[in-house]
Amino acid sequence: MAIKVERPPVAGGRKPLFPRLVRALNRESFFQNVLAMPMQLLLWFLLIIPTLIVLYLSLVAWEPRMGVDWWQAPFAWFRNYGHVLSDVRFWQAIVRTIGVVVVAVALEFAIGLALALFFQRDFLGKRLFTAVILYPMMLPWVVVGLAFYLLFLEKGLVNYILIHFLGFETGVAWYHYPAVALSTIILADVWQWTPFMFLILYSGLGALPRDPVEAAMTLGASRWQIFRYITMPMLKQVIIIALIIRSLEAFKIFDLVFIMTGGGPGTATESLSLYIYRLGFVYGQLSYAAAMAVLILVSISIIIRLAVRPLEYEV
C-alpha cells in the first residue's frame, strides 16, 4: 500500500513563479505597509495640496471679488480666526448644530437599534421589510428635503391630517418658531438616517458570534441581561463607529435646512454648514470661511479623538 507523505502545503497550493517576490510580498512588515499604501497615496495625493491652500487662505484677507488673485492677497495672519471667535452668528450656529446632532443621532441610534434587534429573528417577508426600512436613505437628499418641506407647509399634508383627522383647530406653523422648525428638520434627518443606524447595527449584530449568547442563556441570563452584558459590549466597536460616522455627517447637515427653512426665520434654524455655505458662496468671504472651517476641523478633531480613544485599547 503506497503511503503518501503529507507536506505542509505551499502558499497557493503550487510552486510560486517568482519565489523571492512571493516571499517578499509575504514578509509581514512589507505586507502590512502594502495594505495601507493605496489609501495613504490617495489621500495625500488628492487632499494635501487643497488642505494647504485652505490653511493659506485662512491666513489672508481675500475674497474673489477683490479682483486680486488669491496668492497675491495681503496676509491677515490670525485676524480671520479672531473674527470667527467673536462672530455671534457662528456661535449660535454651533450651538444649534450640536443640538441637532445630539437629538437626531440619539433618536436615530435608539430607533435603529430597536429595529435591528427586532429584525434579528426570522419572520415572513423579512427581506422585503428590510428593503423598505433601508429605502429612505436611498433617495437623493434634495428629494427628501422637498418631500418634508411640502409635508410641513402651512397648507401641507401634516396640517391637513391634524385638522381633519386629529381634531386640531388650526394647523401648526411648523417653520415659524425656531424650536418647532428645528424639530421638523430633525424629524426629516431621523427619517432619512435611521436606516443607516439600522444597517450598521443589523449587520453588526448579525456578525456577532452566537456562542457567548448561548452560553449566557445556559447560565441563566435573561434576555435583557444578555443584551446588557453580552451583546452591547461585543457591539461596542460598531456602535462607537456608527455614532462617530453619523455625528460627523449630521454635523454637516445642509440640504434639509437649506430646502425646508433656508435657515429661517432669519437665522433661527441656520446650521453651521449653511452659514459656511453663505459665507463662502453667497457672501464670497472665502478666507473667512476657510478660517472657520479650520477652527471647526481642529475642535471636532479633538472631540473625535476623545471619542475614538476607547477603541484603541481594544484587542
Binding site: 502545503p9 502558499a11 510580498l25 505586507f31 502590512q32 495594505l35 495601507a36 489609501m39 495613504q40 490617495l42 488628492l46 495640496i49 487643497p50 488642505t51 485652505v54 487662505l57 429573528r121 426570522d122 417577508g125 427581506r127 428590510t130 428593503a131 429605502y135 429612505p136 436613505m137 436611498m138 437623493p140 437628499w141 434634495v142 428629494v143 427628501v144 422637498l146 418631500a147 411640502l150 409635508l151 397648507k155 399634508l157 391637513y160 443607516f196 444597517l199 450598521i200 443589523y202 448579525g206 456578525a207 458570534p209 452566537r210 466597536q237 460598531v238 460616522i245 460627523l248 454637516k252 445642509f254 454648514s273 459656511i276 463662502g280 476657510a290 472657520m292 476641523l297 478633531s301 475614538v308
Partner: protein, 286 residues
Amino acid sequence: MTLIGQASRWLGALAICLVILLPVVWVLSISFKPPQEWLAYPPTIIPVEPTTSNYIVLFQPGNPVGGVAAMVSSAEPVTQALINSLIIAPIATAASVLIGFFAAYAVSRYRVGGTFMPFFTLTTRMFPPVAFAVPLLVYYRMLGLIDTQLGLILMYTAFTVAFSLWMMKGFIDGVPRHIEEAAVLDGASPWRVLFTITLPLVRGGLAATALFVFILNWTEFLFALVFTSREAITIPVQVSHYVGAVGRFYGPQAALGIVASIPVVVAGYLIQRHLVTGFTFGLVRE
C-alpha cells in the same frame, strides 16, 4: 417560533414600514401628480388626475409637464446624468471599499500608522465641504480633472475611504484573531489568510459598508455641482435642474428621485443576504 409570535412580529414590521413609507408614498404620489396638484390644498395622497408625464419628461424634455404649456421642462434628458452616475458611483464605491478594507486590515491587525493614521483619515469628513471646494477646484484645474468622471471618482473615493476604513475596522476587529493564527500555523501566507479567512468572515460588514458608501456617492450633490458643468453631471445635480419660471418642478424632481433610487434599491436587495453572516467563532456548527 409560534404562529402567534410570527404574526405579531409581522404586524410590528408592517406598522414600522407604514410609518417609514408615508413620506415615500408622498414622494411617489407627487411624482404622478400634474403641476396644479403639487402644492394643492387639501392635499391628496392619490393624485386626482394622475399623470406619467413627470417621468416621460425626464427622458423627453420637450413635453410639457402634465400637458401644461407653462411647464415646459427645461432640462437635458437624464440619460447623460444617469450614465455618469452609473459609472462614477459604483467605481468610486468599489475603490473606496477595497482600499478601505485593506487599510482597515493593516490598522486592525498590525496597527499600521499607529493611532494617527486612521484618525487622520476621518478629518476628510470633518471639513465643511464648502470650504474645501474652491481649493480643490484650484488643484483640479492643475490636474485637468474638472468636469470629468475620473475627477469625481477620485474625489468620491478619497472622501468616503475614511468611512470604509472605520466601518471595516469595526468588523475586522470583531473577527477573533486565533482563527487567523490557526491558518498561519497551517502555513498559509498572509495574503491567503486575508482573502480566504478574514474576507469571508467580514462579508456582512463589507456589504453594509459598500451599500452605505454607494449611497453617499450616489446622492452627493455639492461636489458634483461645483466640479461639473456639462460632461460629468450626476443625478442629484440633474434633479436640481427641474425648475422653471414658477418654481421647482416638484413632479419631475420627485419622479427622478424615485428613478434614481432604483439602482440603490436593487443593490441593497442584492447584497441583503450578505448583511448577516452570523459566524460562530470560526467553526461550522454540526
